[in-house]
């Protein structure tokens, strides 16, 4: 066996919704179908994919916030699916969730102090005094003034609310944080603040992060390894650099080609060959689930399901044809070529903002 055991692992985890009879009747949704993955200690592991591919369902399975249809989740070698509710509650201190929507994930009738204190009450034996000090400290760590603790969530901006959510997640002293689109609801400038904050906290608290996102630029910036999902399955996992430079799966290639880059004329938009819509997870296509949209599909793709196979350098890919296809990554410019004056302006902006950072939330 190699290196250290992963902190988190799933084995053939499956989640189907509906499909029952009587009251639970409804079409059977193959939300996660099946997935095996492992997350290494201390890394940032990203899960990317388009709407409805099962990212949130997978995230909830990882923390056993929902029960799998079949399969196991191992945290520090323990099978979460076999734990009793009491055992599970104890473990929750170590694994916390950050929600996408800072607006709906905080109880509007609770003051910030109460919100951040709650996990301390549940998971620690700190005295009231110690909890108070700890809440102040946590607020400072996420870049909020402790004086704000007596306000209600609605008095804060979106970015500040996300900071409150993060303080709350950190309160129980977790080892693992799972963020389901933690920055998607935020504006560009505020998103950058939260991305930086998560990066800092990861170092300061020795965290392992699992980040779910549909934004490839965010993933490129934050993560060490990436899993690409399509219709309930992982089609590729790879270290982040090689994924962007040499994506092996046609779907990963299509995703990367589809990102609009902030450099005029950098891309030939006609390059994008991906056709059609994402099929419904109620009736995933037979064979390779991507074959209805894949520009490289051949006969076998319609019939036989490809499974994840090792592709070297710690990579895995599920495609019948990956080794014979071109691996077109991010070609061309990814940013505009700045004038010398503009180069100076960006540098000045960074210097100045670093100089007066720290003060404002």
């Amino acid at each position: 066996m190699t290196a250290e055991a992963p902190i988190l692992e799933t084995r053939d985890i499956v989640k189907h919704f509906g499909g029952g009879t009587g009251l639970a009747a409804g079409p059977l949704v193959h939300a996660v179908d099946p997935i095996s993955l492992s997350v290494n200690r201390g890394e940032t592991f990203a899960i990317v994919g388009e709407s409805g591919c099962g990212k949130s369902t997978l995230a909830r399975l990882l923390l056993r916030l929902i029960e799998p249809t079949s399969g196991q989740v191992y945290y520090e070698g323990q099978d979460l699916t076999a734990l009793t509710p009491t055992q599970m509650r104890k473990l929750r201190a170590e694994m916390q969730f950050i929600f996408q929507d800072p607006f709906s994930s905080l109880n509007p009738r609770m003051k910030v102090r109460t919100l951040v204190e709650e996990p301390l009450l549940v998971h620690t034996r700190l005295s009231a005094r110690e909890r108070r000090t700890r809440v102040d400290e946590l607020l400072r760590q996420v870049g909020l003034r402790p004086e704000y603790a007596d306000r209600y969530p609605h008095e804060f901006s979106g970015g500040q609310r996300q900071r409150i959510g993060i303080a709350r997640a950190l309160a129980s002293g977790p080892k693992l944080l799972i963020g389901d689109e933690p920055v998607s609801a935020l504006d560009v400038s505020v998103r950058a603040q939260i991305i930086n904050l998560l990066d800092e906290l990861k170092g300061a608290f020795g965290l392992t992060l699992v980040i779910i996102s549909h934004d490839l630029a965010v993933i490129r910036h934050m993560s060490d390894r990436v899993a690409v999902m399509y219709l309930g399955q992982i089609v590729e996992t790879a270290p982040v650099e090689s994924l962007f430079e040499r994506p092996l799966h046609p779907y990963t290639q299509a995703l990367i080609q589809a990102i609009p880059v902030p450099a005029p004329g950098a891309r030939d938009p006609g390059d994008r060959k991906l056709r059609g819509d994402i099929p419904s997870p109620v009736a995933p296509p037979p064979g390779c689930r991507f074959h209805t949209r894949c520009p490289h599909a051949v006969e076998i793709c319609h019939q036989k399901e490809p499974f994840l196979e090792a592709a070297g350098e710690g990579r895995f890919v599920a495609c019948h044809r990956w080794s014979e296809l071109p691996h077109r990554g991010l070609t061309g410019k990814v940013g505009a070529a700045l004038t010398p004056g503009a180069e100076r302006r960006f540098a000045l902006y960074r210097e100045r903002s670093a100089a007066d950072a720290g003060g404002s939330p």
């Binding site: 950058a192 603040q193 902030p262 450099a263 819509d277 302006r345």
Partner: protein, 351 residues
């Protein structure tokens, strides 16, 4: 050179518009200010821009900066009771849309001037088939038979490349995917060959692969028809791929505008620079992102001077007191900042 501004108007009210240097404008918005009952400051303030025939102007900025309000004002779609428009013109094809009799505006809207919204579900009627809705949009402005209108709807479905168009025409909005609904919206908006299409975040709700399809479609259709476009977005990637001209908006002001190349290669305003620096790059990892500290001031606490002064790392007392004038360069690229260009004002002083 410019007429004296009336008092409450900040100096950059007279921002000359860049397109005046190139082709004649199809739409020319001048000094547009908009407020709502209950808000002290204008949520759109002294905004000027113009769009040349066949060109695309991207209006870019973060949530709440006034992009949608600007476009709704042009379309005459703001609630008349609670809206004030203390100043401004929106000259379209020789007529001022802001001061047009209702009936006249209604003949232009949906015909010469069309709009698509971010969430197509809100602008499609759930109880009619999409085919009927397009046919109806055609008949509202053209004296044609039912059959001819249906024929036009089918033709439009083909042009926006909806697969099996005959069958799709008979479907209801809920039966279509998000991407298909946005195609239907585009088909409807273009059915009467408008001269100007206003698209408010047309792809924001869509997945990235579907967004790429829709943007490509809009580009192709523009090439075929020569329609001008006002595209509203908060995504600088979308701007780079679609714009001829760009206007960057912050808290109701246009802080910088110009040709797309100039905006990306030589940004001037600290907000534009902060915004670009905040975007994670798709290239090799770069460490910390630049950020813009704090958040946008609410309308009731709008600073008196430069509206960016509460977040700008270069702001001084003058910035907080006076509204910086919009200074336009020869290339049609300009910004409203006392310190532009930064490398001269800041480094010159320090060094």
């Amino acid at each position: 050179m410019f007429p004296e501004a009336a008092m409450p108007m900040p100096p950059h009210a007279n921002m000359p518009d860049p397109a005046a240097f190139a082709e004649p404008a199809l739409l020319r918005v001048e000094n547009l200010s908009i407020g709502f009952a209950g808000t002290a400051a204008n949520v759109v303030d002294s905004v000027s821009f113009s769009i040349a025939a066949g060109k695309t102007l991207c209006l870019v900025g973060e949530s709440g900066c006034g992009k949608s309000v600007t476009s709704l004002a042009i379309m005459g779609l703001l609630p008349p009771k609670s809206t004030r428009i203390p100043s401004g013109r929106a000259e379209f094809d020789g007529r001022d849309l802001l001061h047009l009799p209702r009936a006249e505006l209604e003949t232009i809207r949906g015909d010469r001037l069309a709009m698509i919204f971010q969430e197509p579900m809100t602008s499609l009627n759930p109880s009619f088939t999409v085919g009927d809705q397009i046919a109806e949009a055609v008949r509202r402005h053209r004296k044609v038979s039912h059959e001819a209108a249906r024929e036009r709807a089918l033709e439009m479905f083909r042009r926006v490349r909806i697969p099996s168009p005959e069958q799709r025409l008979r479907e209801y909005p809920y039966q279509l995917s998000g991407g298909m609904r946005q195609r239907v919206m585009i088909a409807m908006a273009l059915a009467n060959d408008p001269q100007l299409l206003i698209a408010d975040e047309p792809t924001t709700a869509l997945d990235v692969t579907i967004q790429a399809q829709i943007l490509e479609l809009m580009r192709e259709l523009q090439r075929e028809t020569g329609t001008s476009m006002l595209l509203i977005t908060h995504d600088l990637g979308v701007v780079a791929e679609t714009a001829d001209m760009v206007a960057v908006m912050y808290a109701g002001h246009i802080v910088e505008s110009g040709p797309v190349e100039a905006i990306f290669r030589d940004p001037q305003h600290p907000y534009t620079i902060g915004l670009m620096g905040s975007m994670p790059s798709l290239g090799a990892r770069t460490g910390r992102l630049a950020t813009i500290r704090g958040s946008v001031p609410p309308p009731q606490a709008m600073p008196a001077g430069c509206r960016f002064s509460t977040r700008c790392p270069f702001a001084d007392d003058r910035c907080r007191r006076e509204v910086p004038p919009f200074v336009l360069g020869a290339d049609g690229h300009g910004a409203a900042c006392f310190k532009a260009p930064l490398e001269i004002h800041i480094e010159g002083k320090a060094g």
